[in-house]
Amino acid sequence: MNCRECENIIFEANAAQFVNNQVKNLLEPHLSLCSHCHQLYTDYAKEMEQHFSGRRTQADDWFYAKVADQIKVANHDPVNTRNIFRLGAAFSGAAAAIFLGIFIGNQLIKPISESDYYSQVEVSASMPYASDNLYQDDAFLLVLESYLSETEKAAE
């Protein structure tokens, strides 16, 4: 038996087959040689056995009385409060989503609203061209200007 076959047997088996050692007996020769499969078997079998131990094999004689009591209580409480809370949470969630949507939409639409558009146009109209300020205070420009005017004068 190789590891693949061993793994297949482990995953194909049901909980009862682990509990009654059916799987262990089948895999014993391989498990004694392969530490990887041994570890997998140990972990998996432990889980299956643990699950099996929580199962019930004997009926609770009082169980019907408990169910009948619950039915009586349910019949006396026609309005199911659990449902109200469940719906309440759903409605609050929907309302919160709508408000959030309105808020986000408002934030996105705001920059192109009418008043903002005109105020932006005004600002851009009153703003001087950036090129007007170019080299305005540059010492190099002053030297260049004086050189050119002197050259012009000389030419005249």
């Binding site: 995953f11 049901n14 990887h36 972990d43 299956m48 699950h51 929580g54 199962r55 004997q58």
Partner: protein, 184 residues
């Protein structure tokens, strides 16, 4: 008591029919709930809910299935709903914890939660719980409950090859998860 007599008795409000239903099927329903919830108290609560639903809504029973098949379906749905509702409850509880963490006099609320308990669970149990819904149902019924493929197919209202495929994929998923766990 035959299935037809049982259902007719439940519809007519006959207490003997109710007692017969609970006595006859409580172990089966409890074990099914337990295989999903892994918790004795939660499984008992959900088992009660299953019988309450079955007794109150017996008229919804379709005669083409067996009573046991019908109860399996209710038990599975109730168990999965319980897990889902507890997840939601846990989410709100965590938000509440976060918001009230700085406040004096805030008492921690106990959440009876299979998801919280999953932290204490073994890696394999968590890997089973993390399977997609249909794979998990098929796996629980076949591997934990020991039902045959045909019985699983009847409960899940699927064809036999579909159940085989679900179980094969569940096996592959588990193998993959366990392999990566053991390699770490």
């Amino acid at each position: 008591m035959t299935d037809t007599e049982l259902i007719q008795g439940l519809i007519n409000g006959d207490q003997r029919a109710g007692r017969f239903l609970v006595d006859e099927y409580q172990i089966m329903v409890y074990n099914t709930c337990y295989s999903f919830l892994h918790n004795v108290h939660n499984a008992e609560d959900v088992t009660q809910d299953v019988f309450i639903e079955a007794i109150k809504h017996a008229s919804r029973f379709r005669a083409e299935a067996k009573v046991s098949t019908w109860l399996y379906r209710i038990a599975i749905n109730r168990s999965l709903n319980y897990i889902r509702n507890n997840r939601k409850r846990r989410f709100w509880h965590e938000i509440d914890e976060f918001l009230n963490s700085g406040k004096a006099g805030h008492e921690p609320v106990e959440v009876n939660d299979p998801v919280e308990e999953s932290e204490k669970k073994s890696f394999i149990a968590r890997a089973i719980d993390a399977l997609p819904k249909n794979q998990r149902i098929a796996f629980s019924l076949n591997k934990l409950e020991g039902l045959s493929y045909a019985q699983v197919a009847e409960i899940m209202e699927l064809k036999l090859p579909a159940v085989e495929s679900l179980l094969h994929r569940a096996k592959m998923n588990l193998q993959k998860k366990l392999k990566s766990y053991h390699e770490i």
